[in-house]
């Protein structure tokens, strides 16, 4: 290869979706420059220029071209550095469609419902939301058993697309469990997912990339206090 390729990642340390991009880059052994954005303060020129539509992170900039949306970025990384590291998406079209389906389910239904229970002040809405989160974890348990076919990850022996998608939310989930004394990922209800969660967080490509649970607990505590005073 000629010149070193220029890869930049704009993100925030606490964002689970930014972690997705970091994990993917690590899986493919891609060197990159990371820029921490202050989303509560003022967004950088580079962010505003690269993502004028949504002004959100993560943004991957490869040789001056911006790629947006976390799962889009993961697919892009998989396709661009396809000769390096394991395949992130499965090779068979049906397995790929399953991975995309379940990751959309996590992003569009499961995680937003979980977050809503953090924000809502209604005890009723919170209870209902948590019930749905629990029910959907059972669905994900079934999906994991069927897709992993006895291996450690959704992706098989190695972390894949679905692992990155759901796994990126594990730190927030565990931080929430710690903060509230709740048991969201329950060994008695979803034993396979619990085992998978530990494998994922212990994996080399993940453990130094995702934020520490205690740091996120502190962040959540401060964030909650802030939103309570503003309400």
């Amino acid at each position: 290869m000629g010149e070193r390729e220029e890869v930049k990642l704009l993100g925030t340390w606490y964002s689970p979706v930014v972690a997705r991009a970091k994990i993917a880059l690590r899986l493919k052994s891609v060197d990159y420059d990371y820029f921490e954005e202050d989303l509560f303060g003022s967004k950088s020129e580079l962010l505003l220029k690269s993502n004028p539509v949504h002004k959100k992170v993560p943004v991957l900039i490869h040789n001056n071209k911006p790629i947006l949306e976390s799962l889009n970025i993961v697919e892009y990384i998989d396709e661009t550095w396809n000769a390096s590291g394991p395949s992130i998406l499965p090779s068979h079209p049906h397995d790929r469609s399953q991975a995309r389906f379940w990751s959309a389910f996590v992003d569009d239904k499961w995680f937003p419902t979980l977050i809503a229970t953090t924000i809502t002040k209604s005890e009723n809405a919170k209870a209902k939301g948590m019930e749905e989160v629990g029910e959907w974890l059972l669905l994900l348990e079934d999906a994991f058993i069927s897709i992993s076919k006895g291996e450690r990850f959704f992706g098989g022996e190695v972390i894949g697309f679905m692992d990155i998608c759901l796994g990126s939310f594990l730190v927030i989930l565990k931080a929430r469990e710690k903060l509230k004394g709740e048991n969201i990922l329950d060994k008695s209800k979803t034993p396979s997912l619990c085992k998978w969660a530990n494998e994922f967080l212990a994996d080399d490509t993940v453990k130094n990339v995702v934020p520490e649970i205690d740091r996120v607990v502190k962040f959540m505590r401060e964030f909650e206090a802030e939103t309570q005073t503003r309400a």
Binding site: K65, I67, Y76, E79, T80, R96, S97, R100, F101, A104
Partner: protein, 234 residues
Amino acid sequence: MGLINGVNNDEYVRLLGAWPSPFVLRTRIALNLKRVPYEYLEEEDTLNSESVLNYNPVHKQIPILIHGNKPIRESLNIVMYVDETWLSGPPILPSDPFDRAVARFWDVYIDEHCFTSINGVAVAKDEEERKMAIAKLEQCMALLEETFQECSKGRGFFGGDNIGFIDIGFGSMLGPLKVLEKFSGVKFIHPENTPGLFNWADRFYAHEAVKPVMPDTEKLVEFARLKFNTSIFK
């Protein structure tokens, strides 16, 4: 292995859909583009249909593509699946990873913003709500006009010389847009404000993969009148 209509069970393709649905339309266009023979099954009442519940217990929605005995769900997912499975027809997604990422980004935008705005106009309870939804939709159109100019690079479609992922994603919304134009009196795709899109829409409707499956606008108007009992349709 059995045969259904002379086709090996494993290869048999069925599509569960509903004629007014723009999401179902996407999948039919994709299948047509690749010249995939398939059996189309109209779901009259999707929520109670047993086959829908069997194949899509999570969302209970159409479209559902059944290839052999494997169900594939979600319209954009299905379009990508069709593109990746039937390799002999024209490609739906571009080959360059960056162009693919751009195509995927815009189709997500179309679903999360445009379609939501279209719905917003249809279900608006009063004039104020409708005005806001209309403004949002006009913003979407302006952005898509820019995107069309950038992606088409002077050629006929977002995908270039032939229809591609963004054409299919957005083109499927043209029917609902025309219905809204009729009822709201607002022209969302306008020869002066969105000249690129205006001409593109005609080309899209005329495309051989689209023409046979695009629902008739008048029928969509009637459907909307019956389905949405909101102020705009009275």
